[in-house]
Symmetry: C2
Subunit: 307 residues, 2 copies
């Protein structure tokens, strides 16, 4: 079954467009509870157990989880990543590996192989600075999988490069001549990237109007989200930045079509470490606190997008 | 000791600007010799042994090696990566981990931690699509390390995005008004990225005029290399694409200053699997074939850059 088909099915079944980030932290406030760290002692065991309890408490409420591979690399805990993904599949959750890999040729093929055959994710994030050469091994070798290309990221300095005004010129055109003729229409770099994605996805198989080549747009930029939604008509948009990064339900609205499809809203710390924000829950109840947080997120978002 | 200081020292001592890529492959022509694969059977052992023999045969001729992490992930062989880096340090080789990570905040910190504290590399490659938010944790947390930001990559489709003509506007400016006033000067996206790097590196400590924030520019684009050399005055340029990707010594010339400093020329397959190209060497002699190839590369490049 194609990732995108299954995703749409789970969204409809569970009435949820929420992705739960699984970004384990063990080194500061807002982290895996100390009782687990002290009890299990081994990073692979601690992280796997923490993630399992989170999923046990939430699998019926959400279609997908998104582990951020950086944290598993940090704690030298890629076994925990593999075990987490295996467990997610047991619970009928899809897994989007957030890894933002980017390279070309055999190297890109090697990354795709590890994403889908070693870690066994269903989808991943990608950075397309290399152009189509970096994306082709994924599109061609793993048709059924999901891919989410960075377009406009949630951080303030995404403006440094993504917000430059740019133009694509035909081969052989002279930029000065074009400027003189006033035939140039400039658009932001993120919009150019979105257009590339729309173009690359043209011939991919669609389900309910969507193919597996999606994009990433931060919830912190609602106007850009609206603009990008119109460009990538056949792409799902992964929308990070909800909760801890300050965005709310109204901000993500523009990522969705009128039928409530087209977006996935991710929250990581806001869900995983909900027990820290809410004094009603001692650390031992972090799973229940996460469940409560997702129930609230589902209600707030569904009201706005109308599912 | 700072990475960049040590790098310059080793370049002068060994009279070499060559980086040997360590990208193990076990699945096709041009790969780790079968006798090693059959003898050792375990990917971690096979890759570590292959890399050790390569380094034993070449450590006196080059300043640095560049393992591409994608291949270690593919074979689930991150132990081999760690062991390779440890062995390289024993042989007084610097290690540039080619991983092109990119993210923000705590995630970026986690990647930096794994790069320098788990894998223990001396330098790494980075993708700066996120802007300064993605680079800051590296610059601030790991001052002595080396960082190489993707600017113009060696692949044909680098034109898809990196070659767009773009312009940075002051906050509050209107693009149409600016176009009307003809006050706009457009530059390629790769040049904009190079300018960001030059700006971000402004206050970093320098040795012989260079700081640790470098760039990556493909040897397959000599004119762009020349242009970028002028922008990133204080950056080393990592130049991949030599050999297998078709570039030659004359193509890399523009990456260097008149004193022969400023560039690192990487070859991976061309060195590692040199035994395949040259019938004088049976598979068992792959280390000697690699040594011969590096001697040739050093001679050809040094003649052109004048060291």
């Amino acid at each position: 079954m194609y990732f995108i088909e299954k995703l749409i099915q789970l969204i409809k079944e569970k009435k949820s467009v929420v992705s739960m980030g699984l970004d384990p932290r063990m080194d500061r406030e807002g982290q895996i509870p100390n009782y687990l760290i002290n009890e299990l002692n081994d990073p692979n065991k601690i992280i796997t157990e923490f993630n399992k309890i989170l999923m046990d408490n939430t699998f019926d409420l959400i279609p997908i989880v998104k582990p951020q591979i950086a944290f598993y690399e940090k704690y030298d805990a890629l076994t925990a990543l593999k075990d987490t993904i295996k467990y997610a599949h047991k619970k009928d959750l899809l897994v989007l590996l957030d890894s933002k890999r980017n390279d070309i040729g055999a190297t890109s093929e090697a990354y795709a192989y590890s994403t889908f055959n070693v870690y066994k994710a269903d989808a991943c994030t990608l950075n397309a600075y290399f152009g189509i050469d970096g994306i082709k091994p994924y599109i061609e070798g793993y048709r059924q999988k999901g891919l989410f290309i960075l377009v406009k990221t949630s951080n303030p300095s995404s403006r440094d490069f993504q917000d430059l005004y740019s133009v694509r010129l035909e081969k052989g055109s002279d930029i000065n001549v074009e400027l003189e003729k006033k035939s140039i229409k400039l658009e932001r770099n993120y919009a150019q990237m979105a257009k590339l994605v729309q173009n690359w996805g043209r011939d991919l198989r669609q389900f309910s109007g969507f193919h597996g080549l999606g994009v990433v747009v931060g919830a912190t930029f609602p106007q850009e989200l609206k603009e990008i939604r119109k460009i990538v008509k056949n792409s799902f948009i992964l929308i990070p930045g909800y909760g801890t990064q300050g965005a709310e339900a109204l901000d993500v609205k523009y990522g969705f079509n009128d039928d409530g499809l087209g977006g996935l809203v991710n929250s990581s710390r806001g869900i995983m470490f909900a027990y820290n924000k809410n004094n009603n829950y001692p650390p031992e109840k972090f799973g229940i606190a996460a469940r409560e947080e997702i129930i609230k997120m589902n209600a707030n978002i569904n009201k706005v997008i109308g599912i």
